[in-house]
């Protein structure tokens, strides 16, 4: 069995199916978690009807979405219109292929993994932009332009922090990054105060950038459910919309994985005991919970507030952090 698994095509197939299933399961059940968590925060009950405590709700939602007609409005750019949901969802699956879930579970170890994830993450914006542009709807175009402005603004501090982490770890390899943090929680990048005393701040900034990059509230200019209908994806229906939705949640998963790997020591246990997949998932879903918690705590900020936050606070602070890290690494 293990011999069969280790042959390359079989291995790739197993991981491809596994990742697609992982994405689908997460996208489905994160919507339920989102709705349940929002109801806890607002002292409601959330979905309760389908299955015990609404546990089968995502399946019902999926069936409903799959059963809907895909409407292609008159005058849209058909090729781009159909292509853009695919362009949004494929990079996410690519990203998950290089994430080391544990010491042995990783589809493909790329020694420039961090670079690959960050570049594919920026690819995602293009899909949304094409979707808005191809919709032949001026509001979608406006929303798409906002998304581009937002993502460009927040990619810079994200990359700066990633660079400062590379300065610390000397590697783009995510597996290597985690291995360097093995041991107790004092070895995690988050607590490497000797290398840079601003490390927790950097983690916070990275988290904020993650929220903005995945178009999550309070930075959800793209969707803005309550006032923009669905922004760039207004004209999509059925599974076209579903793909955008899945990729949004999958992006959150990838982002949380990245925070876990870069700052929280990946699959390592805080006390050096029994490292493994379970610790990775504990940390990852903890971060996802915080993402949801933030969404249901804060109102959406205005667009200039969003850009001000990035250009006036995040970028200077992350630049300062990069500089400080370089100096500290050079000195010690």
């Amino acid at each position: 069995m293990t011999e069969l698994l280790s042959t390359e095509p079989i291995r790739m197939l197993v991981f491809l199916v596994g990742i697609v299933m992982f994405v689908a399961f997460n996208a489905a059940y994160l919507t339920l978690l989102e709705r349940k968590a929002s109801s806890w925060f607002q002292r409601r009950l959330g979905p309760m009807e389908v299955g015990p405590h609404g546990l089968l709700q995502p399946i019902a939602d999926g069936i409903k979405l799959a059963g809907k007609q895909i409407i292609i409005p008159d005058g849209v750019d058909r090729v781009l219109f159909i292509l853009s949901p695919v362009m949004v969802s494929v990079p996410v699956i690519m990203n998950l292929s290089t994430i080391p879930f544990s010491e042995t579970i990783e589809a493909r170890n790329v020694n420039l993994g961090l670079l690959m994830i960050l570049s594919f993450a920026s690819f995602n914006v293009m899909g949304v932009m094409f979707g808005g542009w191809a919709s032949r709807n001026k509001y979608s175009v406006i929303s798409a332009a906002r998304v581009v402005a937002q993502n460009v603004a927040y990619e810079i501090p994200m990359f700066l922090i990633a660079i400062s982490l590379v300065v610390v770890t000397h590697t783009f390899d995510l597996r290597e990054t985690v291995l360097l943090q093995s041991g107790g929680f004092w070895n995690w990048n988050l607590f490497k105060l000797g290398v840079s005393p601003l490390m927790p701040v950097a983690c916070l900034l990275f988290f904020v950038c993650l929220l903005a990059e995945t178009n999550r509230s309070p930075f959800d200019m793209m969707e803005a459910e309550s006032e923009l209908i669905a922004g760039a994806i207004t004209e999509y229906s059925g599974m076209g919309f579903g793909l955008f939705f899945i990729s949004e949640y999958a992006n959150i998963v990838v982002g949380s994985c990245l925070v876990t790997i870069l700052f929280l020591g990946g699959w390592n246990c805080p006390f050096g005991l029994y490292p493994g997949l379970h610790w990775f998932f504990v940390k990852m879903y903890g971060i996802i919970f915080v993402v949801i918690w933030v969404r249901w705590s804060f109102p959406r900020i205005q667009f200039y507030g969003l850009l001000n936050l990035s250009w006036k606070i995040l970028i200077p602070v992350s630049l300062a952090h990069l500089l400080l890290t370089c100096v500290m690494v050079k000195l010690w």
Binding site: W293, S297, F298
Partner: protein
């Protein structure tokens, strides 16, 4: 210099207020939910709620207090009450044989309840009254089920 101080103070203050906001939601997460699962659960209506009128029955015999004095029928401004009764042989008072409330015209004014001198009528606390059939609102109060509703 003042600008620099304000820059950092604004950041710190902003972070602090964000934390306060998150603490509020976190505390509320552990509070019990206030939702009423409506079709599965029902609220008990308040005592003075005016539902469609019902007959008050004797606690022991289950017979209505009504003596068919017809006061309610006369008091009703829309004429939605239709009472008829008979006097069984040997009985002291009349007993109703028909008590129909046409709820489609009833305005719940309560004049029938006020006019009743024998403590035989009261407003029920029924509020789930929706129906798609008009006949459901021609209510036979004599044979109405205990929990009410459009029977």
């Amino acid at each position: 210099m003042v600008g620099v101080v304000r820059y950092f103070r604004d950041i710190a203050l902003g972070l602090y207020t964000l934390m306060v906001g998150m603490a509020v939601t976190f505390r509320n997460m552990f509070q019990p939910a206030v939702t009423l699962q409506y079709p599965h659960e029902h609220l008990e209506m308040t005592p003075r709620f005016r539902g469609p009128v019902e007959l008050i029955r004797d606690q022991e015999t289950g017979q209505p207090h009504c003596v068919v004095c017809m006061m309610c029928q006369k008091a009703c401004p829309t004429g939605c009450i239709d009472v008829d009764g008979e006097k069984p042989a040997g009985a002291k008072r009349k007993v109703p044989t028909r008590f129909i409330l046409n709820f489609t015209t009833c305005s719940l004014c309560g004049l029938c309840v006020e006019s009743c001198k024998f403590d035989a009528l009261r407003h029920s606390r029924v509020y789930n009254q929706a129906s798609t059939r008009k006949e459901d609102f021609i209510m036979d109060l004599l044979h109405l089920k205990e929990n009410g509703g459009a029977s």
